[in-house]
């Protein structure tokens, strides 16, 4: 069977505008989360990881006219451009474009927006990115709640295996907007302090904005040192509740099982888990139950939400990129915000950066609508 790899990659976030800088900051324990008191976004103080619009605009003006693009479009284009440029792949008929986002340009619905409402259609966002780079194929947008970013990797792999494309560029992103903040706040899911995934004092989510992009390819040639092979993947629904995670972690349990089966691996062959860990009481408990049922309590695990917040449609792709660099460097990064376990099952949450020989990792995500996605990766150096 054809093999698929995640190759060149970029992260554009408050911790830096390229993967190396961002990962370097994570390795130093630096978080992009800050406290904000901005009534134009939320009537009460909140904590989030945001990127200055001015900074993005200045960077974008080097490659285009920023006034013609929304903040999210500028972020996605800047991020994707770095991946396209370094990969040096001509954008012909065999190259696909996937965009992962939950809300896209939702801020254009605000009455003082400079852009027409039509820009809120995700297919318009797709066209904007496609036309900027002159992709030959129509952009495909995936909008599947908080699993979108990691599901996009599955989708790229599946289209490559069906022979539709040889290479697929994925770009993903969401903004911290009034729309999103007010919604999560109405669920009383936001923490005004930096989030503490899996910790006994966890209070809830912080939101974050990033753009993250990768190249998924069927070619084992010309891979960067952090490239990984995609060994197995699956998405399973909880069939339980649209906004609350399953008490038994059913969908997550099944998705990891199915991904392991495809990878032809057992749970104890996973060296590291990059989990979802939103720091809400229910989500983290659900994950603990699912990983316990899988017999994975001892596998070192972190949530990266303490560095970036929950970056919605980008989170799964962002966290996969960090995972790739983590196994390339053979370092387990600390799960920022965690100090004492606050779930009912044992978990091996990474307290401090720890050197360890790493060959494989599992990325998981769970989201509204009861969806759960798991993907297993292996480094390409050995």
């Amino acid at each position: 069977m054809a093999r698929t790899f995640i190759s060149y990659n970029n992260i554009l976030s408050s911790l830096g505008f390229d993967s190396e800088t961002v990962v370097e900051n994570i390795s130093k324990g630096i978080s992009g989360l800050e406290k904000y008191d901005d009534a134009s976004l939320l009537p009460e103080p909140f904590c989030a990881s945001m990127i200055s619009s001015e900074k993005i605009k200045n960077e974008f003006n080097k490659i285009g006219d920023a006034s013609k693009f929304t903040k999210l479009e500028q972020m996605l284009i800047l991020s994707l451009k770095k991946v396209i440029d370094t990969s040096n792949i001509p954008l012909n008929e065999s190259v696909g474009l996937l965009i992962s986002t939950t809300k896209g340009n939702i801020d254009v619905l605000e009455k003082n927006s400079n852009f027409p409402e039509s820009r809120a259609y995700l297919s318009e966002l797709g066209k904007t990115i496609q036309n900027f780079f002159n992709f030959k194929n129509e952009a495909i947008v995936i909008s599947n709640a908080c699993v979108s970013g990691v599901l996009a990797i599955s989708v790229a792999k599946r289209f490559i295996l069906e022979g539709k494309y040889d290479h697929v560029f994925i770009t993903s992103g969401d903004l911290v907007t009034k729309f999103i903040l007010s919604g999560f706040n109405s669920f009383q899911a936001l923490s005004a302090e930096p989030c503490k995934p899996y910790d006994k004092d966890r209070l809830g989510i912080n939101l974050g904005e990033v753009a993250a992009s990768v190249l998924v390819t069927s070619s084992a040639e010309n891979l960067p040192k952090e490239a990984v092979e995609i060994l197995g993947d699956a998405t399973c629904n909880d069939a339980n509740h649209i906004s609350g995670p399953s008490r038994t972690g059913e969908g997550l349990f099944r998705s990891v099982k199915a991904a392991l089966k495809e990878a032809n691996m057992t749970a104890n062959e996973i060296d590291y888990i990059s989990a979802h860990g939103t720091a809400t009481p229910f989500n983290d408990e659900m994950e603990a139950v699912a990983f316990s049922r899988l017999g994975m309590e001892k596998v070192p695990m972190n949530s990266l939400k303490g560095y970036f917040g929950h970056t919605l449609g980008a989170s799964g792709l962002l966290e996969t990129i960090v995972g790739m660099h983590s196994i390339e460097r053979n370092i387990l990064f600390s799960s920022k915000g965690f100090s004492e376990l606050g779930v009912s099952k044992k978990m091996n949450i990474i307290l401090t950066n720890t050197p360890k020989i790493l060959n494989t990792f599992l990325k998981t995500a769970s989201g509204f609508g009861g969806c759960n996605t798991a993907v297993i990766f292996k480094n390409t150096n050995n």
Partner: protein
């Protein structure tokens, strides 16, 4: 309309009346239906009509859902935006906000029919038979699923449309883009 035969029609142009009449006609009897937003009501009822005749297991079923549309959840997004636009009338509601994701309708269908299966929601500019077909083929070929419920469920300000079809390893109509487009165009 199922397999080309009209099973229910209603001249009522108002969506809320139409869908309620269809719900009654189909004897759906599922109180959660009334909490759903319009996109979910449309997707749920369309899926229920098809899955009803499938003799599903009460415990669990492995039927993947691959849905797509153009307007994502914009119809409900506008409603949430209206609830936060003005400081004086700032009342965001979790019951509305949860539906500001297009894939929530996949969750609704999965809950009713106990589908612990693959889910994905794509946004296309127009109905895109090719990508649905390829993706369904991959899920069947890799044995991630036994059947796939595919289609297009779109709800926007002034229009709505639902077209779903079930794909399995054996059947009368071949699973290719020509046939999918032919069926879509009957609508």
């Amino acid at each position: 309309m199922i397999n080309g035969n009209v099973i229910f029609s209603d001249e009522n142009e108002e969506f809320s009346t139409f869908i309620k009449n269809a719900y009654k006609f189909l004897k759906t009897d599922y109180p959660k239906f009334f909490k759903m937003d319009n996109l979910s009501k449309l997707a749920f009822l369309a899926a229920d009509v098809l899955l009803k005749s499938e003799n599903l297991n009460e415990e669990e079923n492995n039927i993947a859902l691959i849905f797509s549309n153009k307007a994502s959840s914009l119809n409900t997004d506008r409603k949430h935006q209206a609830s936060i636009e003005n400081e004086a009338e700032y009342f965001p509601s979790p019951a509305v906000f949860v539906y500001t994701l297009p894939n929530i309708c996949l969750g609704e269908i999965s809950i009713k029919r106990k589908l612990y299966s693959e889910n994905s929601f794509f946004i296309f500019d127009r109905f895109n038979a090719e990508h649905l077909q390829l993706y369904a083929n991959n899920l069947l070929r890799s044995e991630k699923t036994e059947k796939v419920l595919c289609g297009w469920v779109d709800f926007d300000e002034n229009s709505y449309e639902a077209f779903l079809y079930l794909v399995e390893k054996e059947g009368k109509i071949e699973h290719n883009t020509e046939e999918i487009n032919r069926l879509y165009n009957i609508l």
